[in-house]
Symmetry: C2
Subunit: 240 residues, 2 copies
Amino acid sequence: MNPQAIKVACSNCNLRELCMPMGLSDHDLHRLDDLVAVRRRIKRGDTLFTNGEKFTSLYAIRTGFFKTCLATEDGRDQVTGFQMAGEIIGLDGIVNDQHSCDAIALEDAEVCVMPFDRIEEISREITALQHHVHKIMSREIVREHGVMLLLGSMRAEERLAAFLLNLVQRLHARGFSQSELVLRMTREEIGSYLGLKLETVSRTFSKFVEDGTVEVKQRHVRILDTESLQRLVNNISHCH
Amino acid sequence: MNPQAIKVACSNCNLRELCMPMGLSDHDLHRLDDLVAVRRRIKRGDTLFTNGEKFTSLYAIRTGFFKTCLATEDGRDQVTGFQMAGEIIGLDGIVNDQHSCDAIALEDAEVCVMPFDRIEEISREITALQHHVHKIMSREIVREHGVMLLLGSMRAEERLAAFLLNLVQRLHARGFSQSELVLRMTREEIGSYLGLKLETVSRTFSKFVEDGTVEVKQRHVRILDTESLQRLVNNISHCH
DNA sequence: CGACACCTTGAAGAGGTTCAAGAAATGTGG
DNA sequence: CCACATTTCTTGAACCTCTTCAAGGTGTCG
């Protein structure tokens, strides 16, 4: 058992509204505290779980930032997502009782460990939790549909614009700026997620800077013209 | 209510092992019969559900073949999957209580309509069903990871090879040939799924034919050299 | 049998990749 | 706290894959 494990409660967690169902009675709320076995700290660069590892739990991210990636033996590598505080990670492991991707912390992080058999158990009692779990999985499916659209039909500029808007929107929902963000991942990781090479990501950033759409200083990005990015994503130029 | 609706039972359905949990008691098995409200027939070209439509049910495909696709207002279009008998469709609708893509029958089809509130209700009683639903959703998430890998890191030949192998494998699991298949979709639909233009799909088929890897007569495909396709997917040429 | 949808193939062009070199930032150990 | 190694990022030039545009062929269905 992890020595850094800490026993905690969801019922007074400030991220509750992000990862837990709303509108529960006090009784149900305290029942939810049994969901989280422990918390776990993960250092930057370390893995929360890896491909092939036995699946036991879902993880609610309390602090920090993760990437999930698929690395095949033949050298292909695909970042399948970036996850931040309040998001649930580990859903890939349910189907085969083992994880099918790696989850790597891009900065020091802390997660709530929720044993899946306990989730299923409490779900049978609290229908709001049951439905919430279903929604979380459905949301991930829909998110991935969006990524497929991006990878299947967008050009480099459109992909990066969609990526930036998505990131800043999620950060904004967590109380951060609507226009400024610090990237926690490298150009190469962005490229892997977007199906581009790191050079293309870099060049596209430079193009946005030339156009006056964003300011970029390394990983610090300030969006100057959100609408312009939105137009790219919405494919305005191609309209008839 | 659909006039073609038919009241039916899962307990003696020959597709049960594909869409239902295994190893249930007789009692539980008959409880599952309540899952399916009705069956519904969909003609080739018709939609099972469309983007924006209220979500009520999941659908188990009994016969026929579907595509799901995302069509945005700005003219982008992405096929997100092809579904065949025994597969479950409609999971995208759970998160927002409305569907976020279109499901279109590529041949005359019949589906079992399973109202989702009933699924949740029975899931609370039969833990095997509960777990099964979770697995189905997780499987879809993992499948989409694979598509992201394909779209993000494979070249045209590799994509088409992966596509053919996946199709033939799923058909084989349903008792069809390991080497022969009839495509139910157009080159354009294949292209949309694979992030390629229809001309590229056509050219890549022609290349496979030249190489003696497959025989193609319109939509009839015979795989002559499975290993060759497998090598493409496994990226053997790029190995160090 | 004719209209229509679907498929194939060629030639030219665009977008992204690859390879390479150098600059900037970051981390490490003394 | 500084020097050095390492990682990360940027930019240029040549190349390659896939796309676009175009034309003709094939198959299908009323």
